[in-house]
Every structure is written in structure tokens, then in C-alpha cells.
Symmetry: C2
Subunit: 406 residues, 2 copies
């Protein structure tokens, strides 16, 4: 075991979702930190080979795949390493609950809810990269973190920016915060052109290399809408204190405007190792590997208000936040289905938002009002949101086909 | 007396230089703060009427004019107010030494040295707006502040920006800081045009309304050179950790680049009440009167490296900082004379820097090497710097006349 006899200041870390891009960036930061960090648990969905490689590189004590079918491959890949291997949802949650100083919660989607909550309840600070925790069950997670006395440290570049320049000692000192948005590939497109946008157009993100789903979210600004919701829960700010500005260079990630006239901002090159290092080292600030930022080279930083006519997803997300915890949950679930339907060419680009709005309307008609009070609640709502969105997609695809046949 | 029975959290403030633009902005901040502040001493050079008005408005306990000739006018203007009136250098220093929580040191020029030092030695935190304290005798003032256990809070917008985003807990976390410069009225002028620049051209500052002398300093970037020197003393950074970028919009006042890849910046509308409020309220942050900043309205923030060929003052100031405390003292003194000579049309615009360089060379030839070890030393050097610069001006005016006659 590599982690014995560690210096007393070593931070023990678990990484839930170690093989994705956040996990890989975190590995860079941790390896550069040398003896400052020791890794307890690394997890992945099913990529046993990549997980075993990460576990060995980081000297982890334990590696878990969520998919039981991947267990033999993991055991084989870890043979002789002395690293524990296990598999399945139960094993994942159990591993997430092992006592560590900080847990990087980077499992994508609703699958991240239970392990993250287990880590919170075990008393670990959370470097939060999973967005469903706050969008699908924000009040629940904030309450759990408060109860356990743990800190939610935001990994998302925009929220991490706010976190870095927010004086949490006196919330009344804050007038508002600004989350920046690149504006995505359709920033300068007309509505007519957007109506004809293909999946290929939508995933061509100008500044960040990301997955297809999140690239589409960035193109609709729904991603920014979800970030407004997350910011509300993370920083306990009213919706109208959370502004969005389009900033195509993606250098300034977030700003805090104080009531004394000062506006503080965090900037960096687009490199997820920067916010991850901020979380993992917090409350210290230490050297970490990163792309460096040359402001004179960037030369110009521009800001503009988002066009809510062309990007109605932002308004939809704000409405959901006003309506409450059920609506943000449904919004997120329905968006996943709508984006999938767009990527599969079942609906047009400009139908993504109407599909989500339709799912939200149907959920409200079906009597959804209260925020989820348990993980179970949140997952049931999530399923329902997906089902309602699928119905909305089908009825539209039907209309499309009919229209095509007519 | 208005200041009796104050709440225990009231901050006692003295304002050295209360009738200048910094003093006026501070009055705005203090009046808006209501019972949070009580004013002990206000001082002015000789404007008794304005000082009395300020003293009454702020409910000060004591008002002092430096010029003894202004004493009768002050006494008359304060008659019946219950506010003590006194006059003269000794009275000024005595008043500066009264125990308060924070002293705004806003006397312009070498005249600010002794009263500011008296306030430091009396144990008051200092909101420092006088630049000579650090440029003419930086090591002395930093040592005095350390010895007295008081904080030097920078009022200058650039240094205050750095102060707001600098994590002072771990100096090793900082890679470098950036002070921004508007670039002044000659930012886009050619050297040929600059050679013909008139005093009127030079004082036309694009963003801030300032006095003639400081406007010329801003046009040469010597002002920014002095700020590099101040930053060195305030933040204990090596000269090569202090960068200058031209930022014509004057919105981002300073940036700190950390070794973890994050760059934190402070922005505000150009309004001195913002940094003053930051200092007076520190370590709290409270509402204060200010021009508000609409970043979407500003739309574009641009940054470029300064052109040291057209603006050699920046290099000259850096050289002086490398040479040490005598050189920064002489630099500042000689600059005052050179700018005065330019404003009086004795020398051309492009002769300002050569005059300072000549004074520095003469001082070095005359054996100056050590930083001032006392206020007396600093003032003697300052006098010498002025004398040497006058010589340089005279020899140039002579050459000019000769050339004109030839």
C-alpha cells in the first residue's frame, strides 16, 4: 500500500467518477501535489481498465465500478496491486461513505446523487462537479451538507469563480453575481438559421472541449440556466441576484458585484484543472498544473446581455427556479431527453426548449408542486420528467411525420 | 459634541488632508456610514473655510490647518461649533498622533510624511493615499507600520484593487500582480507628435478628473512607475512580479495571478469613493455611495503591453526601484520639478524623463547610495532631487535658448 506513513497534513481524497474528463484533470492536480494528497477511493461506471490505471497512478486504496458486469475485468486489471476492487451500486455507495477529507463528486447525471449524499453524510467536504445534486434536489443537498457540517466546493468554472471572489462572511455585502456564458456556437446566428441547426453545428463549442450533451446545453444556454439554479443553492442568493452575461472569450468565469461598488472577478484560461485545484487545495492556494493566461495576448474581453428571444432556455430555467424544486428537477430531466431527441434528429433545434416547457406544463398539470424530500422523490421526479419529455417528443415527431406526409 | 455616547462599534477616523478630492470622497463615505464612523481630526493645508465646513459636516472633534497664517480664519469659521481649532506643523503632527482606529493619510507630497508617520507610531491603521510615504521612504514606513502593528491599507485604486484580491495568508501563492494604466492621452500618439505635446494636451486625462501634476504623470506613465514602487513596498513583491498593462477603459484596476492558474481582478467605475470605502470599512464590506458599473454597457475591456519606447518613464522607475530607496526618492522629487518645468513651458514633453534621469545620474555621482534612514534623510534627499532636477532643467532651457538664438 503506497499510502502508509503519510505526513499528518496529507489530504485524503475520494474521486467519484475518476475516468471522465473531470476525474482526469483531478488526477493531474493530485499527482502534481505529491505527498499533499492521498487517494482513498476511485470509481467509474464500467470502464475497468481505465479505472485500474487511474487507481494505480494515484495509489488509491480502493477502486469501484458501478456496473457489476465490469467486476472481473477490474479485478484482473488490479491483480497484484494491493488495491481493493469491488462493484455494484451498493459497493459504490459504501466506498463513497469511507471517511476522507474531500470527495470529488464527478459522476455524471442522476447516478451521482446517492454516492454524493453518502459522502456528505459521512462528513466529507464535497468538490461538487455533478450538477444534478443541486438542480434535481438542491434544498435536500444543501440541508444535508449543513447538517453534516461539510462544505460544498463548486468545481464548475463559473461557480468556482464566484466562490473564489465571494466574501461569505457577510452575505448582505453582495449586490449580485454574474455568471458568464460563452454564448455557444449560435451566439451570432439568426433564429432562421438556428431553426436549421444540425447536431454537428450545435456541438461545435468555441472554447471548451466537452461532451455532446453538454455542448448542446451550452448552445441553448440551458446549461447557463442550470448554473443559475445551482448558484441559487450554492450561494443562497435570490434568483434576481444572479445575472448571466455572454462573454465569448470564456476568460472571466464569474463576477461578484458588492454593494460598496467593487466588482471582483476570477479569470483563467479554459482549463478545468484550475477550479479543481482550487477545490482540492482549499482553503489553501498552491501551485497546480494549468494553461497560463496572458491577458495582453487575449487583448479584449467582451460582455453582452444574452438575447432571451433566441435563447429562451435561460428564461425557462429562471421560471423553473421561481416555481421551485420540482420544476428544476423536471427541467433537467426533460432537457436530457429533448437534447437526446435533437441529437437523434427526432426534433429540430428550436424544439428543444418547447419540449422541456411542455414536460414542465404536464408535470404541473399532473399535480407536481413540492420539492423532492428524499433521494427517492428526486429520482421518481426525474423519471417522470423524462417520461413526460418523451411524450412531448413523440407527439412532435408525430406532427412532423404527419406534416411531412401531408 | 456630536460624538459622545457612540455605539461601541464606531470607528474613530482622522483625515489628514480633508479638503482635497480624496478628503471629499471620504466625507461622502463617512456621512453615508452614519453612526458607524466618528471623526476625530480633520486637517488642511490652509483652506480654513473649506476645512471648517468639512469639520462641521463630519462632526469632527478637532480641525488643524498646517499654515499658521490661516489660524484666525479657522477659529472664526468654527466659532460656536465646539470644534477645537489649531494651526502649524507641530499642531498638525500632534493631532495626527491622537488615538484613532484609522487615519486617512491624504496630504499631498512630502508634507504628508511626518503626520502619517506620527499616526502610524500612535498605533492607527493607515488608509494611505499619500504616495511619497512609500516612494520617498518606503522601507522606513513599512518598518514603522510593522513595529507599531498597524495595517497600511492602500487607497490608490490600483493598489486597493490588488489588496482586495490578494490572499495575504500565503505570499508564495502569488505569481505576479498586474497594475493597469489608462495609457493617458498619448496612448496612441506617435513620438513625433508627443515631442510637440502641450501642457493642455497632457492634462486631458481620458477617465479620471485629476490635478494637473498627476495628469501629466499619468500621460508619461511615470505615475504607473511610482505605483510599481509603491506595490513593491505594500505587498512585499519582487519588481519582476509587478507588471503593468495598459487598459484604456480604467475599469479593471488591478489583477493578481496565482500559481494555481486563477487570476483575480477588481473592477469598478472610476470613483475614488470605492477604494476609500474599502479601506474605511475594512475588514468589513458595507454599502457605500458609488457610481455603479454596468459591464454589459462597458461591453469591451482591452489590455495591451505598454510601449516602453514611447513611455520610458516606466523603465526609469523600475531602474530606480532596482537601485534602491535613494533612487525612488530622487525619482519622485525630480519628476515634480520636471513636470512643473513642462507645465511652465521651460522644457518639452519628451524632456521630462531625460531631466529625471539626469537628476538620478547626478545624485548617484554625488554619492547617494543608501535608502533614507529617517524622515530627515528622506526630506534632505527630496530637496537634493529637486535641486538636481532644477539644474538639469536650467541647463536644458539654456541649451534651448542657445539653439533658438543660433
Amino acid at each position: 500500500m503506497v499510502n502508509e506513513d503519510l505526513p499528518p497534513t496529507t489530504k485524503r481524497i475520494s474521486i467519484l467518477g475518476a475516468t471522465g474528463s473531470i476525474g482526469k484533470s483531478a488526477s493531474d492536480v493530485i499527482l502534481a501535489g505529491g505527498e499533499a494528497f492521498s487517494v482513498e477511493v476511485v470509481t467509474a461506471d464500467r470502464n475497468a481498465v481505465a479505472l485500474a490505471e487511474t487507481a494505480r497512478a494515484l495509489g488509491a486504496n480502493c477502486a469501484v465500478v458501478a456496473d457489476p458486469a465490469a467486476e472481473p475485468a477490474l479485478a484482473e486489471a488490479l491483480a497484484g496491486s494491493g488495491i481493493e476492487a469491488s462493484a455494484g451500486r451498493e459497493a459504490l455507495i459504501e466506498a463513497a461513505a469511507r471517511p476522507v477529507d474531500i470527495t470529488l463528486a464527478a459522476i455524471v447525471g442522476a447516478a451521482g446523487l446517492a454516492p454524493t449524499l453518502a459522502a456528505i453524510e459521512a462528513g466529507s467536504d464535497i468538490a461538487l462537479a455533478n450538477k444534478e445534486c443541486l438542480v434535481s434536489a438542491g434544498a435536500l443537498f444543501v440541508a444535508a451538507a449543513e447538517k453534516a457540517g461539510v462544505k460544498l466546493l463548486p468545481v464548475d468554472s463559473e461557480h468556482n469563480a464566484i466562490f473564489q471572489v465571494l466574501d461569505s462572511r457577510d452575505p448582505n455585502s453582495v449586490e449580485k453575481i454574474v455568471l458568464t456564458a460563452s454564448g455557444g456556437p449560435f451566439r451570432t446566428w439568426s433564429l432562421e438559421d438556428m431553426a436549421r441547426a444540425t447536431p454537428k453545428d450545435a456541438v461545435a463549442h468555441p472554447n471548451w472541449s466537452m461532451g455532446q450533451k453538454i455542448s448542446v446545453d451550452s448552445s441553448t444556454l440551458l446549461n447557463k440556466g442550470l448554473e443559475v439554479i445551482e448558484a441559487h443553492y450554492l450561494f443562497d442568493l435570490a434568483p434576481d441576484q444572479i445575472e448571466v452575461l455572454v462573454h465569448p472569450q470564456s476568460i472571466v468565469h464569474g463576477l461578484v458585484a458588492y454593494r460598496d461598488g467593487s466588482v471582483l472577478a476570477q479569470m483563467s484560461a479554459p482549463d478545468m484543472r484550475v477550479p479543481i485545484a482550487n477545490c482540492l487545495w482549499w482553503p489553501e492556494r498552491k501551485s497546480a498544473p494549468h494553461k497560463s493566461l496572458d491577458i495582453a495576448e487575449v487583448a479584449s474581453l467582451t460582455f453582452e446581455r444574452p438575447d432571451t428571444e433566441r435563447f429562451p432556455a435561460l428564461t425557462l430555467a429562471r421560471d423553473a427556479l421561481e416555481r421551485g424544486g420540482f420544476a428544476t428537477n423536471i427541467l433537467n430531466a426533460a432537457n436530457e431527453i429533448a437534447v437526446e431527441a435533437f441529437l437523434n434528429s427526432q426534433i429540430g433545434y428550436l424544439e428543444i426548449v418547447p419540449v422541456i416547457a411542455e414536460a414542465l406544463g404536464r408535470a404541473e398539470s399532473a399535480g407536481f408542486r413540492a420539492a423532492p424530500e428524499s433521494l427517492g422523490d428526486a429520482l421518481v421526479m426525474d423519471d417522470e420528467g423524462r417520461r413526460l419529455a418523451r411524450e412531448a417528443v413523440t407527439s412532435r415527431s408525430g406532427r412532423q411525420s404527419t406534416a411531412g406526409a401531408g
